[in-house]
Symmetry: C2
Subunit: 359 residues, 2 copies
């Protein structure tokens, strides 16, 4: 465990406000509990075992992760119930790693085709891995069409896998006004896929969905489980989608003004600190909670160009500024650690233990 | 030093083809030498001391870096001549770190305002740090207007700094057809700034410029030094700008097909492996050298959606595919190591020693 530094490091660096984080954890847990849904948050957002433990303390039943290597790191840290929400391809070495994981934790993985179900069944050699069929609910990434979920489930069962249900990521919620529609699509797709499993006499016990922008609309008469990730930190995308306010953003990047031209300032947090994510509908490359009308017009690796409103006084060189990154999952994956703050003081540092764990 | 693995790891991972890398190193060195320019390559692109040593072996006089922490890591690895091409803000702790560096290596840094020159002079307390005035040649990021370079140089000299010249980054070369114009702007801005220094009796011994897309046009009657970075690896941006061919791309990301829908395949290298950079003029989120007409239409953290031309056979699940990332500096900064390949076999691994060194 790293120890808390007595002073802040040089910019740029990440801080997490513990009070806001705890409110976000609590709200996420209450939202799920009130609607009778199980919470299995996606820990790819934070990659930090300490934070995963806080999620379990707030009632999460287990964690969701994106890769086998993330799952290995969390298993090493003591987590014993993990869903890899990805159509994991069982290459020889990756299959061996999955069998190793299945010996020590309760492991679930996704499949999204007859071929991958057959390959996975053969590669896992009877290891006790539960399988969920991934369904495309409108994001059009991985996932089968709902009507085809039955065929995939049957192939998986015939290949010796234990099929426990279906899941989807309604990622088309990431567009202005898209949350409600994505939630309706999620309910429709999961419902149809669950029926398809039932028609093949496979019980869809787990019906898993959820994303931070759509979770308010997730249909608890259809789903059993939610997997939001970003809700613990929030970010500029969530602010601009209307999912949260700046007061609900717990993670920010601390930066320093290094240059000034007119009403533009350059700060030292560029794409290597903030991440380069920018959706078509985003107003810039991040936001400044203290200057809500400022916009980050341009981003280089170590420069962010912030345009201030004409009415603002241009800050002096050396001034510290807080930036809310566009997509916090990418931001965290650039950092080796972040600084945990309570009441403005650094009280702890958390290592981003699963940073870069893509395989 | 990491030892070479006998087999490849699970995807996604980065490989560097040593033959292509050496040709790129040689060409970059020859380009500069033939035109009488000193080569001081930007090592923020690769962050690898082994590769920096190859650059010195090919005739580079020293390295360029972007941050004090990168410079510390390279100084620890034995590099003794480093230019931090950035208007470094001398906070108390960062100034102390710069003074520490100046005790053990030849250190240059940038300044781009009277205020930062004064602050830097006061903070460095007479440490032997050389200073270059940063000039805006049209990229409109940091840097003073050329005519103002004299005033900044005078302020720096009065603050006790040793001003040795001027530099610019003609980053507006990163647009189709922009390389030649950016090189002309670079020559014009550096020429005017150098005159401004001379008019204040400060000798602009070092006149530094260069970017990979503009370097072919850099004016050797004006400049003394080039600082390209990307040329060692190249990337999809360079291919699409016409700066290089696929055969000159030395770094690629190895990925696996995990899902298929029609003529789209999903591979397991997403934004956390490739980086999310996408210029407005880019045709997608990266390119596939073996399938030059394919396009990466969408990128999630662990998914890239590749649209294949109708004439192509859709590859089987589990097929390995090579991806050229859009912006290799961002890609490298996501990885802890890369695998060095010669003749298709992994012969070494290089740690990305300065990964995440943003401060």
């Amino acid at each position: 465990m790293p120890t808390a530094p007595s002073t802040a490091p040089d910019t740029p660096y990440l801080t997490v406000d513990l009070d806001i984080l705890e409110r976000n954890l609590q709200r996420g847990a209450e939202d799920a509990r009130e609607r009778g849904l199980v919470l299995r948050p996606h820990a790819k957002t934070h990659k930090v075992p300490e934070l995963g433990r806080l999620q379990l303390e707030h009632g999460a039943v287990g964690l969701t992760l994106a890769t086998v290597s993330e799952a290995e790191i969390f298993a090493d840290a003591g987590f014993d119930d993990i869903f890899i929400a990805y159509p994991v391809w069982p290459s020889e070495s990756r299959a061996a790693r999955m069998r190793g994981l299945a010996e020590r934790i309760a492991l679930r993985v996704g499949v999204d085709s007859v071929e991958s179900a057959q390959a996975l069944g053969a590669a896992l050699q009877g290891a006790p891995v539960e399988v969920l069929v991934e369904v495309d609910s409108g994001h059009h990434r991985s996932g089968v069409q709902p009507a085809d979920a039955g065929a995939v489930a049957v192939a998986a069962a015939r290949a010796g896998l234990h099929v426990v249900g279906v899941f989807t990521f309604p990622g088309h919620s990431y567009t202005p006004g898209g949350g409600e529609r994505a939630a309706r699509d999620e309910a429709s797709a999961i419902s149809e896929a669950a029926e398809a499993l039932i028609s093949h006499r496979i019980d869809p016990t787990v019906r898993s969905g959820g994303s931070t922008p759509s979770r308010a609309g997730s249909d608890s008469t259809v789903l059993t489980e939610l997997r939001p990730g970003v809700y613990v930190f929030n970010d500029a995308q969530q602010v601009e989608l209307g999912t949260c306010s700046f007061d609900e953003v717990s993670l920010t990047v601390q930066a320093t003004v290094v240059s000034r031209v007119g009403h533009d300032v350059i700060v030292d947090a560029g794409s290597k600190a903030l991440g380069a994510d920018r959706a078509a509908w985003a107003t810039g490359f991040g936001r400044l909670p203290e200057l809500p009308d400022a916009r980050i017009l341009a981003l280089s690796e170590h420069h962010a160009t912030v345009r201030l409103p004409e009415v603002e006084t241009v800050p002096e060189l050396g001034t510290m500024m807080r930036i809310v990154p566009n997509h916090v999952c990418s931001t965290v994956n650039l950092a080796d650690e972040f600084f945990v703050v309570r009441g403005g003081a650094i009280v702890d540092t958390w290592e981003v233990a699963a940073r870069g764990a893509n395989s």
